[in-house]
């Protein structure tokens, strides 16, 4: 192995740190996906596009002179309502249908969002400059932008806040009850329609937070949504539904994998390697389960 990255330990450390900080963001998006997958049994292909839309909200605040970090507060509020509107218009008609129908319907939403964002915000790659500066470690050989540390911190805060909310609040209990058995919950007086709308809204809000953070730390572009969907799907199938520590771990693992793929294979293969990893993970799971004569359900 004559790759530069393994010869210079600082470079390896850099990649690992970058990957971990990036992975926490992925885990936040995946958490939203796991939530609505578990509760409503819907795979949302438009997840990544919701993330990008949330990013554009923060970017516009930056354009109008407000510090983009406030996007972390504003973006989820707006995105919550976007999520509820999407639910009312489309998702509530596909909730109890075949999963492929929901995949296709959200694929349609994804295409729609991509193009509307392209019209509204232009096809340029943009980022919101937070002006947070950089932290240098080990004689300036490892650089960590403070915005990345900030985004990881905010993601953790939101994730923990949501866990507590799901455990303690009335709506959180209703959501968990619906996830366990929607019919029983309905009999016991839970308005499942409202719970579904709220779940989709919370998912969109989480995407909004993640998007705002991504617009600060990385770049956003109207067509960049699908890789985020695939990443969160991958994290969820590795971790399993309702396994929050697992989601965090596999999110960070994916982040580190991506940084290494970036260094070793080159940036042009980065997205490709993510999608290939998805295929490999699914195939691995399939062979593992087929020994017990079972299949992924």
């Amino acid at each position: 192995m004559d790759f530069l990255i393994f010869q210079v330990p600082m470079l390896t450390l850099q990649a690992v740190l970058d990957g971990l900080l990036l992975g926490i963001l992925f885990a936040l998006i995946a958490y939203g996906m796991a939530l609505q997958w578990g509760v409503m049994n819907i795979i949302n292909i438009a997840q990544g596009d919701l993330v990008i839309l949330g990013g554009y909200i923060a970017y516009f605040m930056y354009l109008y002179g407000i510090h983009p970090a406030w996007g972390v507060i504003v973006s989820p509020i707006i995105m919550y309502f976007v999520g509820v509107i999407i639910y009312k218009l489309v998702i509530n008609k596909v909730v109890d249908r075949d999963l492929f129908i929901s995949i296709l319907a959200t694929f349609g939403i994804s295409i729609l969002f991509m193009q509307l964002m392209n019209f509204a915000f232009g096809a340029d790659v943009v980022l919101a400059n937070s002006g947070y500066g950089t932290t240098m470690l080990f004689d300036n050989s490892v650089t960590l932008p403070n915005s990345k540390i900030f985004s990881a911190f905010i993601s953790i805060v939101f994730a923990i806040g949501l866990v507590i909310y799901m455990k303690k609040s009335k709506l959180g209990r209703a959501i968990r009850a619906t996830a366990q058995n929607a019919r029983a919950a309905k009999i016991l007086g839970v308005d499942t329609e409202k719970v579904y709308a709220a779940t989709f809204g919370i998912n969109a809000a989480l995407c909004g937070v993640a998007g705002a953070l991504i617009s600060i730390t990385f770049t956003i572009h109207p067509y960049m949504g699908l890789p985020y969907t695939i990443r969160s799907f991958m994290i969820v199938i590795v971790a399993g539904l309702g396994n929050l520590p697992g989601v965090a771990m596999s999110g960070m693992g994916l982040g580190v994998f991506e940084e290494f793929a970036d260094y070793i294979l080159g940036t042009e293969f980065r997205i490709g390697s993510v999608f290939l990893l998805l295929v490999l993970i699914l195939v691995y799971r399939r062979f593992k389960l087929s020994r017990k004569r079972e299949y992924l359900k």
């Binding site: 249908r97 694929f107 349609g108 193009q115 490709g272 699914l282 399939r286 062979f287």
Partner: protein
């Protein structure tokens, strides 16, 4: 039976005469043929077998690259052809062009089918939405990876050999139209023949309940792989012709275009009616007319319209046109209807 022969004859004659009746629409008609082929092949996989895939675009793009690469590589060094910047000094003579295209098409059909057979055992073990997402990943990964491979043009694309200079100006359009039309007829006949065998029943059994099919002693995996290989074979052919027709291959915008072609084939089959022979044909034709109209008059809004169309079709029209007709006129589809029973069902609803 007689009625059918007249119908098929009329369609065949129309297909042969079409480029001469509408000389301005030759390219559009060729694309229509390609779209119908794609819809039919998707239907073998998604409609009859019940394995809804987004990944048949993989075979389509593969066929496109293979056909063009073989056509160039048979006579000239491929690396120099795709090298950017310089003037293209290589010119195919007519004989070289047609020979290359024929061999290229053969390769473009066979290799994707072999690849489908090789990866089939791993991928087809997944079911339902896992299969759908996995194939979606395959298609996008293929696009991203082929965009990084130098010898087939990487990010800057691959110009397929220009049509050789023969005396007639119309020759290019007619050549590609008849290529695609002949492949369409072959695909249709092959699929029709397959649909009248036990093989189709096995595929339907897999769609309806795979576990039970397996319990009945059917080797489901074997049939699934064969079904996917058939699908890949014709997908590759369609891709090869489309590459020559478009004249330029880009990894993510033309070949592995999951956002357009990959979704189109699913949409066309669903619009026409999954699991029927004629559904994909009707769906693809209607879709192409709609698409061309929209693309021409509302340029820029086409993806918005596409997104809305997908959502509307999927939510309000999942049975498709053939499904709707079947519900309305079950007698025409050879179903025996008991009038009293039907009335009772209607009142129940």
């Amino acid at each position: 039976m007689n009625k059918n022969i007249i119908l098929y004859g009329a369609i065949l004659i129309f297909g042969i005469a079409a480029p001469f009746i509408f000389p301005a629409f030759k390219v559009q008609l060729s694309i229509l043929c390609i779209l119908i082929i794609l819809a039919i092949t998707w239907n073998v996989q998604g409609g009859e077998m019940g394995y809804n895939t987004f990944g048949n675009i993989l075979f389509y793009g593969l066929g496109m690259y293979l056909c063009a690469s073989v056509q160039v590589g048979m006579f000239f060094p491929l690396g120099e052809w795709t090298e950017g910047g310089g003037e293209k000094t290589f010119v195919h003579t007519p004989a070289q062009f047609f020979q290359g295209f024929a061999v290229g098409l053969a390769v473009a059909a066979v290799v994707p089918a072999i690849i489908a057979g090789l990866i089939g055992y791993s991928i087809l073990g997944l079911r339902g939405h896992y299969f759908a997402i996995c194939t979606l990943g395959l298609g996008v990964a293929a696009g991203e990876i082929s965009g990084g491979i130098e010898i087939i043009g990487a990010g800057q694309g691959f110009t397929t050999p220009p049509f050789p200079n023969v005396d007639r100006l119309e020759a290019r359009g007619e050549f590609f139209y008849f290529c695609s039309f002949i492949v369409l007829v072959l695909t249709f006949l092959a699929v029709k023949a397959i649909y009248s065998t036990r093989f189709k029943l096995v595929l339907n059994a897999i769609r309806d309940n795979e576990d039970k099919a397996e319990a009945m002693g059917i080797q489901t995996m074997k049939y699934k792989i064969i079904g996917w290989m058939i699908s890949a074979f014709f997908c590759g052919l369609a891709g090869g012709i489309m590459g020559g027709l478009v004249g330029y291959i880009d990894s993510t915008d033309v070949a592995f275009d999951g956002r357009e072609m990959g979704v189109f084939m699913v949409l066309m089959a669903i619009l026409g009616g999954k699991g029927t022979l004629w559904g994909p044909v009707i769906g693809a034709t209607l879709f192409h007319i709609f698409k061309e109209g929209f693309w021409t008059f509302f340029l820029g809004w086409q993806y918005v319209a596409l997104g809305v169309l997908i959502v509307v079709i999927v939510i309000y029209f999942p049975e498709g046109i053939m499904g709707w007709l079947r519900e309305k006129y079950p007698e025409r589809f050879g179903e025996v209807v008991d009038e009293a029973d039907r009335k009772a069902q209607v009142t129940l609803k």
